[in-house]
C-alpha cells in the first residue's frame, strides 16, 4: 500500500515508512537515544528530499520523546528551571537553524551541508563512542583477570573555568549553583545543530550536562528529554514557517513506527550489557557516517543539481 506524501510530492510505501520508523524506534529504545541522527539519513538514502527529511523527522522526535519526558516528570526526575532555560535559549537556536536551513535551500547548498555535517558529526560521535566502550570493556576484562571488581570510569576534567563564569544561578533540583552562560550556550548550540540536521541532540546534551555542568545523573535524562520536546516543537513550527518542508503525513507514519519500536527496543535493551550496547551503537553510527562520506566522494549519478527555488 502506498500513500502520497503531500509535501515531499512523492508516494511512499506505508509499510516501508512504518518499518523505518519502527527500526529506528527500536534502536532508540535499545540504546536510549533519540534516533533522529539515524532516521534522517535513512530517509535521505531512500530518496526523500533532504529538506523534507530533516523537517519531518523533527516532529517525529517530539512524539518519541514525549512519553519518556512525561514518565521522568511524574517521578520528579526533571529540573524544570534548567530545562526552561535550555528550551528558551534553544528556541533562539532553533530559529537561527531554521533560517539558515531555508537560506541554504534557496542557494542550492542544503544537501551538501547536510551531507558534510553528518559525515563529520557521525564520524566523531561514532568514533568516540566506540573508543570509549572498547576501553571500558578492556578495563573490565583486565580487572576480572586481577580478580577485582571494575571501577567506574572517572569523570572528565573538572572544567574549573566554567564554574568561575559570572551570572550565577541556583538550580535547586540539580543542587547546582552555576553561571547561566554555559547553560544558554549549550541550549543554543545543540538546538541550532539539531534543527539544521534533524536530530534531537540528546546524544550530545546528556554527556555535556553531566561532564560540563555536573548535573546529577538522576535528573539528567528527564531534563534532556523535556528540553528535546520543547526545542523540537519550536523547530517544527520554525521549519513550517521558514521552508514549508514539514510533511505531516510522513511525520505521522514515522511517529507510529517509532512509538512502537521504542517500546520493543527498551525491553530488549534491558537484557544487554552497557558497554557492548555502546560499542554496537558506535559501529552503527560509524557505518551511517561512512555512507555519507562515500556519497560525497563517489561521482554522483547525475552531474547536475536542479532546485526549485520559487513558484
Amino acid at each position: 500500500m502506498e500513500v502520497y506524501l503531500p509535501i515531499a510530492e512523492m508516494p511512499i510505501g506505508v509499510l516501508m515508512g512504518l518499518a523505518m520508523g519502527g527500526c529506528v524506534g527500536l534502536i532508540s529504545g535499545l540504546f536510549g537515544v533519540g534516533g533522529g541522527f539515524l532516521l534522517t539519513p535513512l530517509l535521505i538514502f531512500s530518496g526523500i528530499p533532504p529538506s523534507v527529511a530533516v523537517a519531518s523527522v523533527t516532529p517525529q522526535i517530539v512524539a518519541s520523546s514525549t512519553s519518556g519526558a512525561l514518565a521522568y516528570f511524574r517521578r520528579g526526575q526533571v529540573d524544570l528551571k534548567l530545562a526552561g532555560i535550555l528550551i528558551l535559549s534553544g528556541s533562539f537556536g532553533a530559529i537561527a537553524g531554521a533560517e539558515l536551513f531555508a537560506l541554504l535551500g534557496s542557494l542550492g547548498q542544503l544537501t551538501l551541508v547536510i551531507a558534510i555535517s553528518y559525515t563529520v558529526f557521525l564520524a566523531t560521535i561514532g568514533g568516540l563512542t566506540l573508543f570509549e566502550s572498547v576501553r571500558a570493556m578492556m578495563r573490565t576484562r583486565a580487572a576480572e583477570r586481577r580478580g577485582e571488581t571494575a571501577l567506574p570510569a572517572r569523570n572528565g576534567g573538572t572544567h574549573g573555568w566554567i564554574h568561575r563564569l559570572p551570572l550565577k544561578v541556583r538550580f535547586r533540583r540539580s543542587r547546582l549553583f552555576i553561571s547561566i552562560l554555559p547553560v544558554i550556550g549549550l541550549g543554543f548550540t545543540i538546538s541550532f545543530l539539531g534543527t539544521l540536521l534533524g536530530i534531537g541532540g540528546g546524544f550530545i546534551l546528556v554527556p555535556a550536562l553531566i561532564y560540563l555542568l555536573k548535573v546529577p545523573t538522576s535528573v539528567v535524562v528527564g531534563t534532556s528529554l523535556l528540553q528535546i520536546v520543547g526545542v523540537m516543537a519550536v523547530a517544527t513550527v520554525m521549519h513550517s514557517v521558514a521552508s514549508q518542508s514539514v510533511d505531516a503525513v510522513l511525520a505521522f507514519i514515522l511517529m507510529l513506527g517509532g512509538v512502537f519500536g521504542a517500546q520493543v527496543g527498551a525491553s530488549i535493551g534491558r537484557s544487554l550489557r552497557g558497554e557492548q550496547l555502546r560499542a554496537l551503537l558506535g559501529l552503527l553510527v560509524l557505518a551511517v557516517g561512512a555512507r555519507f562520506a562515500l556519497n560525497l566522494v563517489l561521482p554522483p549519478a547525475s552531474l547536475f543539481a536542479v532546485t526549485v527555488v520559487g513558484p
Partner: protein, 255 residues
C-alpha cells in the same frame, strides 16, 4: 480509465462540431479547438492520465485552395517555477554544487506536439516551448543553454518534458487530434495550451486556452495548509506529535 476519457472526447467532439456549425464567417482560415476536459483532479492514487485535444481548421468559401497540407503545432506549458540548476564539480576531493544559473518562470511541464512534418518553423517552436511563461522566448547560449538542457532532462526523467513530432494526427485534411500525456508527477496548477496553424512555414492562426490540474482531497488540504497557514500548520503538527507520543506511552504502559 479509458471509457470516461473516450466519453469526454466525444463530448468535446460534439461541442467542437457545434461550434464549427455556428462559427462566424469572414476570416480566411481559423482554428477551432477544444480539450476533452478543463480540470484534471489529482487524488492520492493518481497515476497519470492524458487529455485529448480536438481541432478543426475552418475556412470559408473565399479561401484559396492550398497546395500543401496544414501544419499544426501544440505547445503545452505547466505552471511556472523559478529553478536553480547547478553543475556538480569535484573540489577538495568531494562533490559540491557550483554556483549555477537561475531560470525565472520556466514551465514545470513542457510539451510540444506537431504534425509529422512540421517544416522549417520546428526550431523556433522548440525555443518557444522552453520559454519562460510570460517572458519572451530567446535562444540560450553557452553554459546557460547547457544548464537548461540539464533541467529539461530532469523533467524528461519524470515524463514532464515531451517532444512528440507526429503527435498531432490529421484525421481528415482539416480535422486533427492529439493526446497530451500527463504523468503521475504532473505538478498542479494552470497549464497553458497554445495551438498554432501553419501553411508552408507561414503562421495563419493561433489559439490559446488552458486547463487545470488540481490536487483534491486530504493531500490537497495538507499541502494548502502548509503553504497558506504555515504557522497554524506547524502548531497542528506539534500537537499531533505530542498526542501521538502521549497516547503511545499510555497504550504501552498498560501492556
Amino acid at each position: 480509465m479509458v471509457r470516461p476519457r473516450l466519453l469526454l472526447g466525444l463530448i468535446g467532439l460534439a461541442c467542437l462540431l457545434a461550434s464549427v456549425l455556428l462559427a462566424r464567417p469572414g476570416a480566411a482560415e481559423e482554428l477551432v479547438v477544444d480539450l476533452s476536459t478543463d480540470t484534471i483532479p489529482i487524488a492520492s492514487d493518481f497515476s497519470g492520465t492524458s487529455i485529448a485535444l480536438f481541432g478543426v481548421v475552418e475556412r470559408d468559401a473565399q479561401t484559396v485552395a492550398r497546395g500543401g497540407g496544414y501544419e499544426i503545432a501544440v505547445i503545452v506549458r505547466g505552471p511556472p517555477n523559478d529553478v536553480l540548476v547547478q553543475r556538480k564539480t569535484r573540489r577538495f576531493g568531494i562533490w559540491v554544487n557550483a554556483e549555477g544559473e537561475r531560470f525565472r518562470r520556466v514551465p514545470s511541464f513542457s510539451g510540444l506536439f506537431t504534425t509529422p512534418d512540421p517544416g522549417p518553423q520546428l526550431e523556433s517552436l522548440m525555443i518557444e516551448a522552453d520559454a519562460p511563461l510570460g517572458l519572451a522566448a530567446k535562444r540560450l547560449e553557452g553554459e546557460r543553454a547547457l544548464l537548461f538542457q540539464a533541467y529539461a532532462s530532469k523533467l524528461a526523467e519524470d515524463d514532464l518534458y515531451v517532444r512528440d513530432i507526429g503527435g498531432v494526427e490529421m484525421l481528415t485534411d482539416r480535422f486533427f487530434r492529439t493526446l497530451i500525456p500527463l504523468p503521475d508527477l504532473a505538478p498542479d496548477g494552470r497549464y497553458v495550451v497554445d495551438v498554432l496553424l501553419f501553411v508552408g512555414g507561414v503562421l495563419l492562426d493561433r489559439h490559446e486556452m488552458s486547463f487545470n490540474v488540481d490536487k483534491f482531497g486530504f493531500e490537497q488540504k495538507v499541502y494548502a495548509a502548509s503553504h497558506e497557514q504555515p504557522l497554524l500548520y506547524g502548531f497542528l503538527v506539534v500537537t499531533l506529535a505530542l498526542v501521538t507520543g502521549y497516547v503511545g506511552g499510555v497504550v504501552f504502559r498498560r501492556n
